[in-house]
Amino acid sequence: MSAVTESTSWRRVLSPTGNTGDAVFRSLMFLVALFMVGIVVAMVLTLAADSMLSIRLFGFSFLKSQQWNPIQGDFGALPFIYGTVASSLIALVISVPFSLGIAIFLVEQAPHYIARPVGFLVELLAAIPSVVYGLWGIFVLAPVLRQYVQPALANWLGWIPLFRGSITGIGLLTGGIILAIMITPIISAVVRDVLTAVPGTQREAALALGATKWEMIRVVLVNGAPGIAGAVILGLGRALGETMAVTMVIGNRPEISLALFDPSYTIASAIANEFTEATGDLHLSALVELGLILFLVTFVVNGIARVLVWNVTRKSGGVGRAA
């Protein structure tokens, strides 16, 4: 206990009790928190500053240009934006039905003694490092796609422009499939939280009115729709920023092609591949500008996701899951 408790103004401000130890403790914690805020602000400023060279030279045409020519110093982000968005969309299309199915099974159908270990196993999919997925993609998934899946798709569905391109097993489709496997545990984990947060009274009401199991589940899904949307968007945010697994299986060719079997290039892959070998300041600045674009896009996407998911899980008092 401090012997002299005269209210020195700075002590009162820092701590409601006027205790010196409290003032020191609270200001120390505050400074650390402020430091982290400063780091993130510094991150944005650094990215902006280092891409200034490229921004000043290209302006908005950077976003529309399809040229990526380090030798002539002409850079454009469109192929990478296309690759990033396309691979993430493919991943969502494949992953969302599976993730929903998994979450519904674990929350509504499985008995406790199955749900807990199986849920743990699904979450383990999220613990596998990205580079391991890439390794598995190169040596297991790509050959399977090349030998069985892609020829079959080209045979049966080749009249659709999507299912054409070079059948090498490496390309946009492979990248999308790997991403789908990687984001499934995240989406299903958040949807599980969302479904658990739906009040039991809704289920009981549906069943009391004579609904079958699936009809009751549909009621629950409608209830949790905003949260499910948030989970999907969270998965999208994760897929947009994924680097290593995609770099290893997407082919890394900066060209826009509608054919899913053709190679593509994402923003993160471009940075990973070319950063250490960038020829000149303009090249490096263009890569940093790509990083800035990726940062802003994932920032917005994650922000939307968080708003949707928080509203659903905080209401019921559940703790939000770390993304």
Partner: protein, 280 residues
């Protein structure tokens, strides 16, 4: 089956179909996990040996190993934990115990933002602020990049664990005359310590699998680490380099290195799950 109309039977049938589909989805997901894990074990076990685990890389055809990469990963984990864990825990304590109103909202928003930043962007940032001024890659820069990824994870779990401590403990400490810092350090944190420790372990497991931020901070090396100011090898970057090489021998080494990495990552995850199991 008396007097059921056709529409009733349709509804039952579609319900049965859909519920089996969800079970199928789960079965496929678990199956995918097991396939991946068994494949890693099957491919990797062939190249594992004591020599592999202790040697440094050699040119193709001469064997070599991942000893320096394992050591490098441990060094990077150590550096990132030294920076990341204290800062993360302090931020968590701030958000849970100290923060008030608007300011705490801003901090929480920033921490959430940091969670969602792609790790390659973190690597670019650390490159700009550490590697460029120092004019060389370093283990230190790699550790800082990993710490930046670690902080938001640790902060989040610390905050959640601290919030789970019952209010009666706080009220008891305050009623006995403890100032807030004494209450937090002496009562609340020890009470939440197991949760905070598991959060730290999960963050370490997550960070040990990161590759992208290391690509241009720690960069990679073929030698055993001698100083923190030099580039350093790591398990993940080594796997990446071997995987995209054209040599079968290096591919086999990549699988074996993956087996080592997966043992570490899965081991931590399973231990954490075991420690946090409910005993009801």
């Amino acid at each position: 089956m008396t007097n059921y109309s056709n529409s009733d039977r349709m509804r039952r049938a579609s319900s049965a179909v859909m519920t089996s589909l969800t079970a199928l989805c789960t079965f496929l997901a678990v199956g995918a996990l097991l396939v991946i894990l068994f494949y890693i074990a099957w491919q990797g076990i062939g190249s594992l040996s004591l020599q592999f685990l202790t040697d440094s890389p050699r040119p193709v055809g001469e064997g070599g190993g991942i000893g320096n990469a394992i050591l490098g990963s441990l060094v990077l984990l150590l550096i990132s934990s030294v920076f990341g864990l204290p800062i993360g825990i302090c931020v968590g304590v701030y958000l849970s115990e100290v923060g008030r109103g608007r300011l705490a909202g801003v901090v929480r928003f920033i921490v959430d933002t940091l969670t969602g930043i792609p790790s390659i962007v973190t690597g670019v940032f650390v490159y700009a602020i550490l590697v460029l001024p120092m004019r060389h890659f370093s283990a230190f820069a790699g550790g800082v990049a990993l710490a930046l990824i670690m902080v938001p994870i640790v902060a989040r779990t610390t905050e959640e664990m601290l919030k789970l401590v019952p209010h009666s403990l706080r009220e008891g400490a305050l009623a006995l005359g403890a100032p807030q810092w004494r209450m937090t350090l002496g009562v609340i944190i020890p009470a939440a310590a197991p949760g905070i420790a598991t959060g730290a372990m999960l963050a370490i497991a997550r960070v040990s699998g990161e590759t992208a931020p290391l690509l241009f901070t720690a960069f990679g090396s073929r030698f055993f680490p001698t100083s923190l100011n030099e580039p350093i090898a790591s398990l993940t970057v080594q796997i990446y380099n071997y995987a995209i090489s054209p040599y079968d021998e290096w591919h086999a080494q990549a699988w074996a290195a993956t087996l080592v990495l997966m043992t570490l990552v899965l081991g931590i995850n399973i231990i954490v799950r075991f420690l946090t199991r409910r005993r009801f």
